[in-house]
């Protein structure tokens, strides 16, 4: 975990990178999220102060877009694709299996903070359906059966 001081510094650097441009708010939040894997409350407050944008505005953006998380995420983000092609090829059953094997519900993080489970609306890999993306790697044509082995590789 980053200390409060280093956290403040990286938020400052990110804002500087975008010249405190208010229209770049989404990009700034994306960079902050990439840095911390979620949007820490303190980071949002300091963006609000430094850029002179009401915190409610930032909160509106942070909650409107699905890519942002206000809760800390685990080391690995497991995203089960819920696009139409994946749905037709059994994505819902894949999600059930993930929930069972990780013992969490979609949107939650395991107690050991290793996995967060989320649903994503189409990764554009429809030809390989059903797919799951784990920490940026796409696993194609996944069957329920392969789930335990794949999760093990990320532990």
């Amino acid at each position: 975990m980053k200390t409060a001081k280093t956290q403040k510094k990286s938020v400052k650097d990110i804002i500087k990178k975008y010249d405190s441009d208010k229209t770049a708010m989404i990009a700034i939040l994306q960079d902050v999220q990439e840095e911390f894997r979620y949007l820490p409350k303190e980071a949002l407050s300091s963006i609000s102060k430094q850029m002179d944008v009401p915190l409610t505005r930032i909160y509106e953006i942070a909650t409107f877009y699905n890519a942002f998380s206000l809760k800390p995420r685990g080391k690995n983000l497991v995203e089960v694709c819920a696009g139409t092609a994946c749905h037709v090829q059994g994505a819902a059953r894949l999600m059930d299996r993930m929930e069972r094997d990780l013992a969490i519900k979609c949107g939650e993080t395991t107690t050991d903070k290793i996995f967060s489970l989320e649903e994503v609306r189409c990764l554009g890999c429809c030809s390989l359906a059903p797919v799951v993306r784990i920490s940026g790697n796409i696993h194609p044509n996944l069957t329920q059966d392969e789930v335990p082995k794949i999760l093990k590789n990320y532990k």
Partner: protein, 637 residues
């Protein structure tokens, strides 16, 4: 690299590019679009690089985009001097040494390429260059030409002309294919109004779904009041099941950029934006590289091609909101706000981004522009059918044999896409429907299999073109579940601004969930119908007003499935968990024990070589037994 100012400079770059497209030594290309990488192309590329280094070979190794036939990736193309270009499919790192052996020997033996290409098509230049002279080498007898492969036979690639053919990291290769010559022609030989007239005459309609004539949009934006105007590329390909825009942005980013510069000149804009979804990191990287290259060549920035025209482009990244694919929401998002749509009576061509005239087209539309400018409106409008000129790219996915991205002339019968290009339904199952147009679209059942695939015919059938996703469904797909899936998607993605969409879609989802869970009541279907009409009439934006389409179209063609769910509490396709039951066929079960081992809830029992039994009280209906049974012995009813 020095800036390109004249036609001569452009020709020089093209010459360099041609030397790298058809080089005097062996070249190996790996399909490295997202789909290729997900199938293992990176490992293949690394293995190739290592093998080349180990054997100290003088070989060019390059990355290319996706050709379209995603079901045979990773794809490795080998091009040797004076020989056809050979495509090896489903290559693994293990197979690499053997392919390199073949390269060294210069002869095919062992694993055979899937198809060969005898010539390279330079669409924008209207010429074809053969890879070899004389007769076909004997060892290549029996390897089909790409034009004889069913998947490619009826295709015509315009928007995806360079995808999978050129190195997406090389601007010179793009120029060699005729790229930026259209821009040169537009800036030096055409007046803005002439360009707009050409686009109008070509009949190009917006490929993002609406099908609005692109030229008319440009003209309205050009005539709109204001000094500052914007051109925008919609790369927020949110429709699940469609990924052609990703393929173009990844595999041929310059075609989009060139189209946009031409459009900007015609409209009178000096700043443009490409809005790309958050889910497409590779597209962002490839576009960014292409923008930097174009700037370095002086094709973006001040005084482009020494004509005095200034224009620059910036990428805006989405953050995962489906509604941002809608034009007004996209513009609000580009302004750095929550992407809520605005009422449609205010036209974005007059009051768009920052309230200034803004012209938005999607990736595929922009990619068509350079081809139209170089070959002319007459040529473009000769392709396709009445009022639907040109081609359309589709993503053929779901329950279909040849999964992939296809580009076909408009007006092609659906049947040819499904059965000839797509190769029909796997496992001898029956075709049920194809879903087009994303969540706002609809389903086309078997009786419409002969329909002409164009904007107007699909619209009249209660579906729409959308961005071009085609999700094929067979008898094991439940249409009520599909409707529920889309409504659930739309409820989640509704921005919440207007009540009909926010509340109406939510209520419809509740009813559909009840129906799928076996709690459907008489009258539910009729209630869904009347609610649908309310949403169509009352919603604010295009997303809301088409939100009921998945329900309306499945009701229109598959009403009996709704009735079976509500009245008989049965799911005929065997999908809706609450209405189905798994059992094992006495006849087919061989007692192999695979299902017993794989069942996560340990509810299957039975001795070896004897019929197994499922304990219904413990079964969680996960379907693992059905997925793993090799003898098709699991019955779902």
């Amino acid at each position: 690299m020095s800036k390109i100012n004249t036609l001569e400079d452009l020709n020089k770059a093209a010459k360099r590019g041609l030397e790298s497209i058809i080089p005097p030594k062996t070249k190996v290309m790996v399909g490295m679009a997202t789909s290729g990488i997900a199938s293992g192309a990176q490992e293949v590329y690394d293995a190739l690089a290592e093998e080349v280094k180990k054997r100290k070979l003088d070989i060019i190794l390059s990355k290319t985009g996706a050709m379209g036939m995603d079901c045979i990736e990773p794809l490795v193309d080998v091009l040797q001097p004076n020989k056809p270009r050979l495509a090896y499919s489903k290559v693994t790192a293990k197979k690499v040494p053997e392919i390199v052996d073949q390269i060294v020997k210069g002869a095919v033996n062992g694993s055979k390429p899937t198809y060969r290409m005898d010539e390279e098509d330079f669409i924008c230049l209207n010429e074809k260059k053969p890879y070899f002279k004389g007769s076909l080498p004997k060892d290549l007898d029996g390897i089909p030409k790409i034009s004889d492969v069913n998947f490619y036979k009826k295709q015509l690639k315009l928007a995806t002309r360079n995808c999978g053919m050129i190195d997406f990291e090389s601007i010179d290769e793009y120029i060699a294919k005729g790229g930026y010559f259209s821009l040169h022609k537009a800036l030096t030989k055409m007046k803005p109004d002439e360009i707009i007239d050409e686009i109008i005459a070509s009949g190009l309609r917006g490929r993002g779904g609406g099908g609005f004539p692109a030229g008319i949009k440009w003209q309205t934006c050009r005539r709109a009041h204001g000094d500052i105007k914007y051109v925008i590329c919609n790369g927020d390909e949110g429709d699940p099941g469609a990924y052609m825009d990703r393929s173009v942005m990844e595999g041929d980013p310059h075609s989009v950029i060139e189209g946009m510069i031409i459009g900007a000149y015609a409209i009178g804009s000096s700043q443009g934006f490409i809005y790309v979804r958050n889910e497409y990191p590779l597209a962002v990287r490839n576009l960014q590289r292409a923008l930097d290259q174009a700037r370095e060549y002086g094709l973006l920035g001040k005084n482009i091609l020494n004509t005095g025209f200034d224009f620059d482009l910036r990428i805006g990244k989405g953050a995962g909101a489906f509604v941002c694919g809608e034009s007004t929401a996209l513009m609000t998002s580009l302004e750095g706000k929550a992407g809520e749509p605005r009422a449609k009576y205010i036209h974005t061509v007059e009051h768009g981004l920052w309230d200034r005239p803004s012209n938005l087209n999607n990736v595929e539309t922009w990619a068509n522009v350079p081809a139209i400018i170089s070959r002319g409106a007459k040529w473009f409008s000769s392709i396709g059918c009445k009022n639907n000129s040109g081609t359309k790219v589709f993503c053929l996915v779901g329950k279909i044999n040849n999964i992939g991205m296809v580009e076909v002339p408009m007006g092609i019968p659906l049947k040819e896409i499904i059965y000839e290009i797509g190769g029909g339904i796997p496992g001898g199952k029956k075709y049920k429907a194809v879903q087009t147009g994303g969540p706002s679209g609809g389903c086309l059942p078997d009786k419409l299999i002969d329909i002409s695939v164009d904007f107007d015919s699909l619209w009249n059938a209660g579906s729409m073109m959308g961005s071009g996703g085609m999700i094929v469904m067979d008898e094991t797909t439940c249409m009520v579940d599909i409707a529920r899936y889309f409504i659930d998607f739309l409820e989640f993605e509704s921005c919440g601004k207007c009540t009909p969409c926010r509340e109406g879609v939510h209520r419809m989802n509740e009813i559909l969930r009840d129906i799928c869970d076996g709690r459907g009541k008489e009258g539910d279907v009729e209630l869904l119908e009347s609610m649908s009409q309310g949403i169509v009439d009352g919603a604010l934006c295009a997303l809301g007003s088409t939100a009921a389409n998945p329900v309306l179209s499945t009701l229109k063609y598959f009403r009996d499935e709704y009735v079976a769910h509500v009245r008989d509490k049965k799911c005929p396709a065997g999908v809706c968990k609450a209405l189905i039951r798994f059992s094992i066929s006495d006849e087919k079960c061989t007692g192999c024990g695979v299902c017993l081992k794989k069942c996560p809830s340990e509810c299957i029992s039975g001795e070896k070589k004897k019929t197994h039994v499922i304990d219904q009280t413990k079964c969680i209906k996960c379907g693992v037994c059905k997925e793993s049974c090799k003898f098709d012995a699991i019955i779902v009813e």
